[in-house]
């Protein structure tokens, strides 16, 4: 058999010749001709002109020929839709063929032809094939539903194929089950809201049974699907884990990785005290190590995933350092990844071995690898304090090799070591200075200049050294120029007498001869500082620097959690969420790890927290997170939200979640507090936000003018307070207050630009909060905010955002973004903005409820120095939606019985005791009853503010 001859025909009249051959009577000749056509198609020639002739060959009992024609059809049908119709009859006929292989072939091919007219004809045969007696046909038909959905999703829904597909999950044949799961998973991805897969304990059980019986590929489909399921409690999670662990011994690495994904995800739900938890941790290590003996490409995928796993659960592989040692013949991409993991696993226990290895690597051939190895030595020094000395001496040895890029890389990392351990290793400076001439990379030059400037007092010829850099100032990169400027200013402040000329020179170079605004500005600042107050200059320039952190390249925690849900997939290889590289709507749904169950939460004690990430390190990771948040804010808030909030909420959820995590860690809060609390009120939309918002903001603008006079038609408005001082927000000052007018809540903001730069692109985002407060419209700052300008904005709020209990209850964490940065602040909102207009209870109801609420929920408060009579109090309170249900006079005291309702439907009942006759006693007594006693304290505060103002 020599099919290669078909590739060689390159004659000019080829198409016409082929046409003749295709129409030949001889079967053999026909087949030969079709083969030639396919060969031409493969090498990229256009043979679409032969369409009718090829389709004519379709009706044949020769299966091989038929397959070839089908292949041709799949390629060209779309370009010749009218002609493609000719083929429909044959397809339909083939779908009825007694041979199951032919039936399957027909339905498989038809699904690949993306021509609407053909698709219409596909429905009937597909319906039959989904119920075919032969499993081979059914498994093919299952995939065909996914194909059809890709062409015409509506059609698939209308024809009820999705239900048939769901039925196939219970099919007796494991391969049919697997393909149905694969098809459903893909379809479900494009409908994130629909509950297509409908995973419940019963269906999970079916999947787990099929898992034992189907092909390796089917096992992957099923495991990937299982990973999307959230077990209802830790017991269910454990039982699934138990049935998935045998897969870890599968020869197919993808099966193993998908099983690891399921286990890593469900482990999140297991208590760490559980014996099983420990067993599972132990079981995970060997298969991960075994993945490293696979082919290099798979090793690469495995290593990228291990990198994530090591960050998430360092305990799994902490004893397996040796397997990550680089082999001489590993492909470079495997080497680089191994190196990364080695550093992550480095600890005091194994540091000696690691260093010996790294030193070895630093002498290899590949420049990237060597650089990374040198950098790794520096990172070890910073990570494991005990090893710092050894690392420094290793680095010095490497500098002695005089290999240019090794020396440069070493100097860059030594700078970091100086930052981490000040005043410890400065003795090596002399050696570093010897290599000044060989530095030609900006980063290394900048590092060296930093060192010279920082330790100018210990380097005798610091001025000469820096001067030597100054000669080619304009040819240097910005990084070096900035560092040189700072370095010389430091030198001047330390040795003012002999370096005056030098500093003059650099300042004039930076301010007069440079076009770079950063450099110029920094130059001017130094100049001004030095000329006005040298002492202040010293304090600023030579200020003590914060220590640098150990891990600088950790993946930000929320992203890490998301990536753990994508183990084995491309996302875990790129270390990016799918939305970053997948076009369109697919895969944009954010996945997150299941929350800890309530029982396990109590077990979370400080010493069981992962050793690699003590809380002290957290803040170092945040800046990167801030950038990410900035991007997200940009993404989600950029376009004006004109559609009703409900439709956008699904998209914004992701951002809110991320923000939540970010703010939590920023504020040092425990993010775990979500699952275990019993106070999660459902967000009830008291006011349709889309309707209330525009009116509300308009009105409040009007009322703003009159609020000083004391109008009764809205609840009490506190004066604006400064929420975010300009100091903390790079010149943006935010002050504000909350108002409630005619049923709509708004946040009145005053933004002042105290910076010297125009501010634009404002956006605002709230963290999840106790009552689901969320902006109902984007922050509209119409014109750029120029320096010293102030704008007043009323931001309508809705209460349909995500809910999370805050501490204190009325805490609101806000992120505001502008073109400069993202800023965070938190503020307390008065609870009365949440009191709704229909908060008046009828008397009977009041009595019954009062009795119904247990006495331990009653809270007593005193409002001191409030000389009001009952009428005045009633009217004051009523304007803030606290309604008096009844009034009683007992022994000269007025008892007011009042009710109010919060936006989330919680009723609060109050008894207010006023003593009008007694001027010496101006205290009011308030007792509150509520089913959610947490709110009482804040309701009391609201009473106090309302009554006293």
């Amino acid at each position: 058999m020599t099919d290669s001859k078909y590739f060689t025909t390159t004659k000019k009249g080829e198409i016409f010749e082929l046409k003749a051959e295709l129409n030949s009577d001889k079967k053999e000749k026909k087949k030969e001709a079709v083969k030639k056509v396919i060969a031409s198609m493969t090498v990229g020639k256009d043979v679409s002109a032969l369409f009718p002739d090829v389709v004519n060959c379709m009706q044949t009992d020769n299966l091989e020929l038929k397959k070839l024609v089908y292949l041709y059809l799949m390629n060209y049908a779309k370009s010749q839709p009218d002609m493609a119709i000719m083929a429909v009859n044959t397809f339909v006929k083939d779908c009825e063929d007694p041979n199951p292989l032919i039936r399957a072939l027909a339905v498989r091919t038809m699904g690949c032809i993306r021509v609407d007219k053909i698709t219409e004809y596909l429905c009937e045969p597909l319906r039959k094939c989904l119920k075919d007696e032969d499993p081979y046909v059914r498994k093919t038909a299952a995939v065909c539903v996914a194909k059809l959905h890709d062409i015409n999703a509506q059609l698939v829904e209308d024809q009820g194929f999705l239900d048939t597909l769901k039925d196939l999950i219970s099919d007796s044949n494991p391969m049919v089950v697997a393909n149905a799961v694969a098809a459903l998973s893909e379809i479900a991805e494009s409908h994130p809201s629909s509950n297509l897969l409908d995973l419940n304990p019963q269906s999970i059980n079916k999947l787990l049974t099929a898992l034992n019986e189907c092909t390796e590929w089917g096992q992957i489909f099923i495991l990937d699907c299982l990973a999307n399921y959230t077990p209802k409690d830790d017991r269910e999670a454990q039982s699934i884990c138990e049935r998935v662990t045998p897969r870890l011994s599968h020869a197919n690495s993808a099966v193993v990785l998908s099983a690891v994904k399921v286990l890593m995800k469900f482990m999140e739900m297991l208590s760490k005290d559980l014996d099983y938890y420990g067993t599972l941790l132990k079981k995970l290590a060997p298969p991960l190590v075994t993945l490293l003996s696979a082919e290099p490409e798979l090793q690469y995928v495995a290593l990228r995933n291990i990198n994530l796993i090591v960050q998430k659960r360092p305990e799994i592989l902490k004893h397996e350092m040796k397997v990550f040692f680089v082999k001489y013949n590993d492909p470079i991409y495997v080497k680089l990844e191994k190196l990364d993991i080695m550093i992550r696993l480095a600890s005091q226990a194994n540091i000696a071995q690691v260093l010996a290895e790294l030193k070895e690597y630093a002498t290899e051939v590949d420049v990237d690898f060597v650089r990374k190895a040198v950098r790794a030595i520096g990172r070890c020094a910073i990570k494991v304090e005990q090893s710092a000395e050894r690392c420094v001496s290793t680095l010095l040895d490497l500098i002695q090799t005089k290999v240019n890029y090794v020396v440069q890389e070493a100097i860059v990392v030594i700078k970091d070591i100086f930052r981490k351990y000040p005043n410890k290793y400065e003795s090596v400076i002399a050696t570093l200075c010897e290599n000044l001439d060989s530095l030609d990379e900006p980063e290394a030059r900048a590092a060296m200049i930093w060192i010279v400037g920082e330790y100018a007092e210990r380097i005798d010829n610091a001025d000469e050294l820096l001067e030597s850099f100054l000669e080619g100032f304009h040819d240097e990169s910005t990084q070096v120029q900035l560092q040189l400027l700072t370095g010389i200013v430091k030198l001047f402040l330390k040795k003012p007498t002999e370096t005056q000329e030098l500093v003059q020179q650099v300042l004039s170079l930076a301010t007069q001869d440079s076009d770079n605004p950063d450099l110029r500005d920094r130059g001017y600042i130094y100049w001004r500082l030095l000329s006005t107050d040298p002492v202040a200059a010293k304090e600023v320039v030579l200020a003590e620097k914060p220590l640098i952190s150990e891990e600088t390249d950790l993946i930000e925690p929320t992203l890490l959690d998301e990536l753990i849900c994508y183990i084995g997939t491309l996302a875990s290889v790129y270390h990016k969420p799918p939305s970053a590289f997948v076009e369109g709507g697919r895969g944009v749904v954010h996945k997150s790890l299941p929350p800890r169950t309530a029982s396990s939460e109590s077990a979370e004690s400080p010493e069981t927290a992962p050793a690699g990430a003590p809380p002290g390190e957290q803040p170092d990771v945040i800046p990167a997170q801030g950038d990410l948040l900035g991007d997200l804010l940009n993404l989600d808030l950029g376009p004006p939200v004109s559609s009703p909030p409900l439709t956008t909420s699904s998209v914004q959820m992701g951002a809110v979640d991320l923000l939540g995590g970010g703010l939590d860690s920023l504020m040092g809060d425990e993010p775990e507090g979500i699952g275990g609390t019993n106070f999660v009120a459902p967000p009830t939309a008291a006011v349709p936000a889309s309707l209330g918002a525009p009116i509300g903001s308009g009105l409040s603008d009007l009322f703003d003018l009159t609020s000083g006079v004391g109008t009764l038609s809205g609840s009490y408005v506190a004066p604006k307070a400064v929420w975010l001082p300009a100091m903390k927000a790079k010149g943006l000052e935010i002050s504000g207050t909350f108002t409630r007018q005619v049923g709509s809540i708004s946040m009145d903001l005053q933004l002042t630009n105290k910076a010297l730069q125009v501010m634009t692109d404002f956006a605002i985002q709230f963290n999840r909060n106790s009552f689901g407060l969320a902006p109902a419209a984007p922050l509209q700052v119409h014109a750029p905010l120029s320096p010293n300008q102030t704008v007043e904005i009323s931001l309508p709020l809705s209460t349909v955002g995500s809910v999370m209990k805050m501490e204190p209850l009325n805490n609101l964490q806000v992120a505001v973004k502008n073109n400069i940065d993202v800023f965070y602040f938190s503020t307390l909102y008065p609870l009365h903005i949440l009191f709704v207009e229909d908060g008046k209870m009828d008397r009977q109801m009041f009595l019954a409820t009062w009795k119904d609420i247990p006495n331990e929920n009653e809270a007593q408060f005193q409002i001191r120095d409030c000389p009001l009579n009952a009428e005045a109090a009633t009217s004051k309170l009523q304007s803030s939606n606290i309604f008096t249900v009844a009034k009683r006079n007992v022994e000269g005291q007025d008892m007011l019985y009042q009710s109010l309702k919060l936006t989330n439907g919680i009723w609060v009942l109050a008894e207010l005791r006023v003593q009008p006759g007694n001027p010496s006693c101006t205290d009011l007594e308030l007792s509150l009853k509520c089913r959610a006693p947490e709110v009482s304290q804040h309701v009391y505060q609201a009473y106090e503010t309302i009554l006293k103002n």
């Binding site: 299966l63 041979n99 199951p100 694969a182 990937d224 690495s253 082919e295 001489y328 084995g568």
Partner: protein
Amino acid sequence: MIGGLFIYNHKGEVLISRVYRDDIGSQAADSAVFSSSGPFLGERLGGSVRRNAVDAFRVNVIHARQQVRSPVTNIARTSFFHVKRSNIWLAAVTKQNVNAAMVFEFLYKMCDVMAAYFGKISEENIKNNFVLIYELLDEILDFGYPQNSETGALKTFITQQGIKSQTKEEQSQITSQVTGQIGWRREGIKYRRNELFLDVLESVNLLMSPQGQVLSAHVSGRVVMKSYLSGMPECKFGMNDKIVIEKQGKGTADETSKSGKQSIAIDDCTFHQCVRLSKFDSERSISFIPPDGEFELMRYRTTKDIILPFRVIPLVREVGRTKLEVKVVIKSNFKPSLLAQKIEVRIPTPLNTSGVQVICMKGKAKYKASENAIVWKIKRMAGMKESQISAEIELLPTNDKKKWARPPISMNFEVPFAPSGLKVRYLKVFEPKLNYSDHDVIKWVRYIGRSGIYETRC
């Protein structure tokens, strides 16, 4: 899922292109080209815009000057997974967040299937069998989802001979096998002589410091089985796995101490898909119905108590700037009655080597300038022996500041035992339907230990 699969030759010409999903080439542009152009214009335009993906890969990977920095390349939001076999590139293309491990496993599987059909994967063989390859791709990948890809099953209905002659029973047998629980074996296999071969193939890996300290050592082993058994035989495989032996030995403490010495601790093992994993997980017993012919039953890894067949003792001395003296001793460390074969020691030399004088006691040694190494070959060597080579390397003076990196001395060999200490204890065969018993099966067991990466730093 996989959007398309392409096979290229080393020049970057496409040999096979099969597109499963439209998203990998802009379809709108595609049809525009076709509708607006006659056949000749179309031909001049190079056919289809699907070629976007094809060309992007050629330009960015195959023709890239740098060596491959990652087996997954993302070009314009399209991901390319690639593996290379001799000088043939296989590339799977996708735009979605696919299971990356699965794609690579599939590409390897694809290579296995092709090799099983037509032998070596070469440009010539691919061109000669392109119709077959298209047929296979149609079968084992549906809409980008891998389907049954066991050659045993595929060969029953993808034959290139046409399948007209099949009866209805045969057809349903094929389909039930392709989709069935035992997709790797067809029914009705008959042999006059029931025979099986077990090969324990191990590769022993070592990284040793110049001082003779073991930096890392592990054995990765495979048990390869060739089965020629009738019917649907149920097999049970036993080896001296420490966990099993200890479990069994619980009753008779005597036996534990005796057999305990010989048992080995297996760090981890993986099995062919025919092995019942849940049974292994619960009872640690390895039971399966084997595919017909050759397959890899299991892979395993051990790190404890490894028998290192050879020890390499290097001595490198730099005599001034232009001369190196190298002395290497190798010692064999196994039973004197056994013979190691194909021994090769590779001693790297600096790039500026100008001449080498070698003296060795045994075998032949040669300086290979093109490989920058002295290669010392010994055909056979018995256990507990020692041999030595010494060499004088003359160097050209250079102004290169960089010191010579001294790559490790590597070694190749083959020994007739398993360095991990693994022993096959039994392989029992049961076939209740046919009348042959375990005793009638002829069984062969062979152990081969080979060097993996066996390096000593100098």
